[in-house]
Symmetry: C2
Subunit: 744 residues, 2 copies
């Protein structure tokens, strides 16, 4: 630790210096407000902040995370009821929206190394004297991957690194197939559900996933309870349902899982894995990996266990038995409504899930207590005569962990109303300490920059925007981003892939959405383990919930501004600027793939690879690939040019801060719908947004302009032109909408 | 293993395809030969090749590496005598040149962890049943670093990563100093002698160096005897004398260490370390590192032990006791001479050391047996009536391991004669399997490309040049190098830093030199350990010595061509092209340092760092640095332009392959002397070459145009202009020499 004195002095000094030299602190009225309304809004926010009570948030966290509270658990129901009671106490209209959903719980989990040695995996996390919560284990779900199929298989192990498409390409070069084998994969590199999906596509009979200590264990830091990182017994649970196809209840795609909904037979549910999959600790992985032979893994694949990693196949042979109770459980979404005083039919929705895999102090309670603090404050403002102009709806979702189920079912169930009334959806989930992260629809980029500008970072006293900007200037991986952070007035917000409850709102319904959190100074390994406890959180992640308060301010101010803005603070120049960047990226992607493919093919055909490869090793040349053709990006760029023009005209329209008509606001908040098409993405019609989607082979990781990008990445060259036309179509639709707004 | 059939077929196919498409296989007469002489030379080389006998080389290797044979050991003397006897048998004039040199051997080596736990380091390598040589341990030197000073110190440990200047800059940012502490460093990242040198400059009281298993152990592959990599007991020995100041006997800088030479008192020898230093195994390092506390190391510093690495200082506290027997020993250089039939006063020198740290099968015997096979073949050619035109001198050096001592003393002792008569010095040392590596004076780049073009790779049947080219095309780290490998007629040879016996010839005397080896398919961890045995080498490095034969062909043909060429095959366009690249690099270096310094200074002064750094950690901002001024590189570029012009004119002169006059050949082979200055480099006058030098803070790693480059790197901005003038002066001198050659 730096001494308090030194650190405080340097912060004070730096604050003065920074603010003094800042080029972007000039403030006019808020976007969508005139000067008077803006002052009034700022005053309301000051009042709002005074209601945020970290001590109360801490008590809520302790209560909600005292026991395991996954969907279907007694504590889960108890928490839902308690949340509902809180909202009622703050004068909200409260409903508990119930859905009947499929939720598999493990009956049998057995993993044994059969040869060359024998080892029976413990599959159990250690309770720790230092953390009493880890002895509260009634109703605790053991380590498993939800929506793994049942299975009883025996086979040799193959090490597949992170189990990504690139990893399998490399395995191909070693002449190694997982067909008929059991893939053992590290966590990381892609969303976990991709690992069994791809292994299954390649013919594997099962997948084991473990947390390698180099990535998530003693490598990054001291392990729990000495430090926050994953100890040798920790296992990351998590869903492996095929969320890039559709999230939510596996039996009711596209419709709400009400009691009487029409359901698929379990055997037909396409998002349940094709092969059994089980997560294990690095303690259990060690004997398995140690027993493997075959070629030594490539340098980039090595992990942190004290062994030489080998690819296999075998000689390590394991048996995996998994059996699940495929039961129906009730998901309890708490829906709390504060009616808008002026525009009750315009809904600002703010959500966070309440179910956890276990105690779930970080995930999701650290975000939930911010939401509750915000709701309480908003209720207090309303009680004091300052109700929101628009209706604010809080959603505390159940069953997020197994696959965004609670939020998805509610969004599907109320799809038509939501598309008509929803202004925006603001999401939070687990929170940490450090720098603000905002991801979301780029029509909200300017808006969120104003929000970030007006919230103070609790550690440094500058705005959370300034702190994030400083971090990008110094730590961003690319020179381009470092320079841009210095020069671009607005910080970019990230495009959203998936991984939390915004997905049904944004990508299924086309509702402008955002996801907000803090992080960067609270790394650890408790995620989805038994160690995600109140004790872990308050020792290592955000002691005193100081960043919990900051989160409540960012999300709360955003909610309040969206609820009150006389003109909805949507803006299109930021959107088109980001889209322009994505188009450039895709052109570069094609260019890079073209030159790499050309070089590879030449080195294959002229025999260079045969000269280079060591005949004592099995590593062979890559397979020659079809040359990458040139694509016609003109339709996309023409649509972009039109959009840029319209966006710029709209910037002039809103410069005076005048209020918008009801029709203008409607055109504004439904503009994001223009980026969706009823047909959805190719091969996954549930995903209707054509600018943002989770990657089909990355899972949570975003693919922007996904139709075009994935067609190129997956070398489906004959699809590219059609996808370019579709993406141009949605951009043209957005341009039309903005032109319409300019005309209004 | 790929099946033999497949691999052979694909090689055959690829060979045809490759040769068919090759743009660079067109052959005219050899450089320095006319057509007839060229044909004659090729015929001689075919005859030469027929004398290379791998079975005999293998027997020599087994004999010479049967016991430890370091300088001063009985087996070392026995090997010298045996080598001399072989040369005599092949009708060479043989002399054993003896020098009396200081060579410390350990008396006491004790390392103990005192707290928080106690652990006494074993400091011993395990003998293995699988390798009988590891039980032949009479006269085996235990793990130590030669030319460490004596010491008995106690202190806390600080982890310094690789102990490079950049590592200490980062430690500074953590507020951690090694002053009064014991630095523990990984092997790698710089030459080992830099570690205690820099630690000593920073005030450390001792240095421990260990091989981290992520770099050199189970990380890269299976450990000995299962595989070739370093097992938990293996320790890399090695010299830590300050070779970047001067190599060779520490008591007789600049003069031969003959019996009556004037010697420094040991206490005044500047190349003995200032602090004690000891190398240890990762088995011994583990308890020490595990006992450390303080901040967790940065990501890039992590190693492969199953622990969280911490920076310290302490609480781990160790005691290190080292005492050496500072004895005088005799170094026996075997010098064998085959007089030239036409130009006996022009000497082609070919060397390899014969001393090893232990059994030394790879280092140095694998190179020595190639040299012996070459010498035998050359002797046979002479006996059959084809003596070399020039005198060929073979040097089998002693005492290379402790600091290039045998070669340096001989070169210093015979400096005047060598500068007058030496045409070139060709060095080999340990050899491996895979791709040919040639480093050396760039006046020999074209020459070596012809040599590489005419030797067949034993694994693929193409030339060793083609195989290297294919490797660069596919595996080179930078796009620029990959593209160049495709398009540039000649492959570049690497500039030489230090690390073997070419240093006194090239960098002290200005004799054009080269170093030749094969590698890239024989990675392992036996270097300077007890496991560098015949068994290890013949199992894992080059079974059957097939690449030993290829090495004898490359080095032998090179020797023979240099000995016979009617015009010495020196060439200057390749030289100037490489120098041009070095000047570009240095300009880019200054540019990069300038923009990085500017960005850092701005982020410091405007407080960005204070906003970004985690107040819970000790990591602070960097220190603001003096801005990097703009430098006038014009003198260097003008000299280069003149050199390029002259080189191009000389290319026309030699195009017809006409023989050179004695004076022309003299001007050619002494041209490299023009790149030296009697004053030497700033602060290290022993190093007289101004284009190639080992880095003052990298050790073995080369610094081209070192005066200019190191002044910039070390931010001694006021030195840069003077150094540019000096470098321009040597380039102008070389240009004058080439102009003179054109006029002749």
């Amino acid at each position: 630790m730096r001494t308090f004195l030194l650190s405080s002095l340097s912060i004070l000094f730096s604050y003065v210096a920074f603010v003094g030299s800042s080029a972007f602190a000039a403030e006019g009225p808020l976007l969508g407000f005139d000067a008077a309304a803006s002052d009034n809004q700022h005053a309301l926010e000051t009042e709002f902040d005074s209601h945020i009570d970290r001590v109360e948030m801490d008590r809520w966290m302790r209560d909600f995370s005292s026991e395991a509270h996954h969907v279907g658990s007694p504590k889960g129901k108890e928490n839902a009821d308690a949340i509902a009671a809180l909202f009622r106490g703050w004068n909200y209209e409260v409903e508990i929206a119930e859905y009947q959903v499929l939720f598999p719980e493990p009956l049998t989990r057995e993993l044994e190394l059969l040869s060359p040695a024998r080892y029976t995996a413990s599959l159990t996390e250690d309770s720790l004297d230092e953390d009493p919560s880890t002895s509260v284990i009634d109703d605790l779900l053991p380590p498993y991957n939800a929506f793994s199929i049942d299975g009883d298989v025996e086979g040799e192990l193959v090490f597949v690194n992170y189990g990504t498409p690139a990893d399998y390409e490399l395995l191909d070069r070693y002449g190694i197939s997982v067909a008929g084998k059991i893939a053992i994969s590290k966590y990381g590199g892609s969303w976990r559900g991709i690992k069994p999906k791809l292994a299954g596509e390649k013919g594997a009979i099962a997948t084991l996933i473990y947390s390698d200590p180099a990535d998530d264990g003693y490598g990054p830091g001291d392990v729990y309870p000495t430090g926050p990182f994953k100890n040798e017994s920790g296992v990351q649970r998590g869903s492996v349902m095929d969320m890039p196809t559709y999230p939510g209840d596996v039996l009711t795609p596209g419709i709400g899982a009400t009691g009487d909904a029409r359901r698929l037979p379990i055997a037909d549910a396409p998002t349940i894995t094709r092969i059994p999959v089980l997560p294990i600790s690095y303690r259990d992985a060690l004997p398995l990996l140690e027993a493997m032979g075959g070629e030594v893994v490539p340098r980039e694949w090595r992990g942190g266990l004290p062994i030489t990693y080998h690819l296999g196949p075998g000689p390590a042979r394991v048996r995996l038995q998994l059996e699940f109770d495929w039961k129906m459980v009730t998901a309890y979404n708490v829906i709390a409504r504060l009616p808008g005083a002026l525009y009750p039919d315009e809904w600002v929705i703010r959500g966070n899930h309440h179910d956890g895999w276990n105690h779930g102090a970080a995930d999701p309670i650290s975000g939930l207590v911010a939401l509750l603090a915000e709701a309480k404050a908003l209720g207090a403002l309303a009680a004091a005569g300052n109700p929101p102009a628009r209706t604010v709806i809080y959603g505390a979702w159940d069953a997020e962990e197994p696959g965004l189920i609670g939020s998805t079912e509610w969004a599907e169930h109320h799809a038509a109303e939501l598309q008509e009334h929803a202004v925006a959806y603001l999401n939070t989930d687990g929170n940490g300490r450090g720098f603000v992260n905002v991801g979301g629809s780029h029509v909200l980029e300017s808006f969120f920059n104003e929000v970030m500008r007006d919230v103070e970072d609790p550690q440094t006293g500058v705005s959370v925007q300034q702190r994030r900007r400083a971090n990008l200037r110094i730590n961003a991986g690319s020179e381009k981003v470092r320079t841009e952070a210095k020069n671009r007035a607005n910080l970019r917000i990230s495009p959203l892939g998936s991984g939390s409850d915004y997905t049904p709102f944004l990508q299924h319904l086309g509702i402008a959405s955002a996801n907000i959190s803090f992080g960067g100074e609270s790394a650890g390994g408790s995620y989805h383990t038994m160690y995600d406890t109140y004790e872990h959180y308050s020792n290592w992640i955000d002691p005193g919930l100081v960043y919990g308060e900051a989160l409540a301010q960012v999300a709360g101010h955003a909610t309040l501004r969206l609820a009150n803005a006389p003109r909805l603070p949507f803006e299109f120049s930021g959107f088109s600027d980001n889209v322009s960047g994505y188009i450039e990226e895709i052109e570069e992607l094609a260019e890079t793939m073209r030159s790499e493919t050309e070089a590879d093919n030449q080195n294959i055909s002229d025999g260079s690879y045969d000269l280079v490869l060591d005949p004592n090793k099995t590593f062979g040349p890559p397979i020659a690939k079809e040359p990458v053709p040139f694509f016609n990006f003109a339709p996309l760029k023409n649509a972009l040019a039109r959009l840029e023009q319209a966006a710029s005209s709209y910037d002039s329209v809103i410069a005076d801060g005048a209020a918008a008509s009801a029709r203008e606001n409607y055109l504004l908040y439904t503009s994001e719908r223009e980026l969706t098409r009823q047909q959805g993405l190719s091969g996954r019609p549930w995903y209707k947004h054509h600018i943002y989607a989770p990657g089909f082979y990355t899972g949570y990781g975003v693919k922007t302009i996904p139709g075009v990008r994935e067609a190129i990445e997956q070398r489906q060259y004959d699809q590219v032109a059609g996808q370019i036309d579709i993406a141009a179509e949605v951009l043209n639709a957005m341009a039309s909408r903005v032109e319409l707004l300019v005309e209004e």
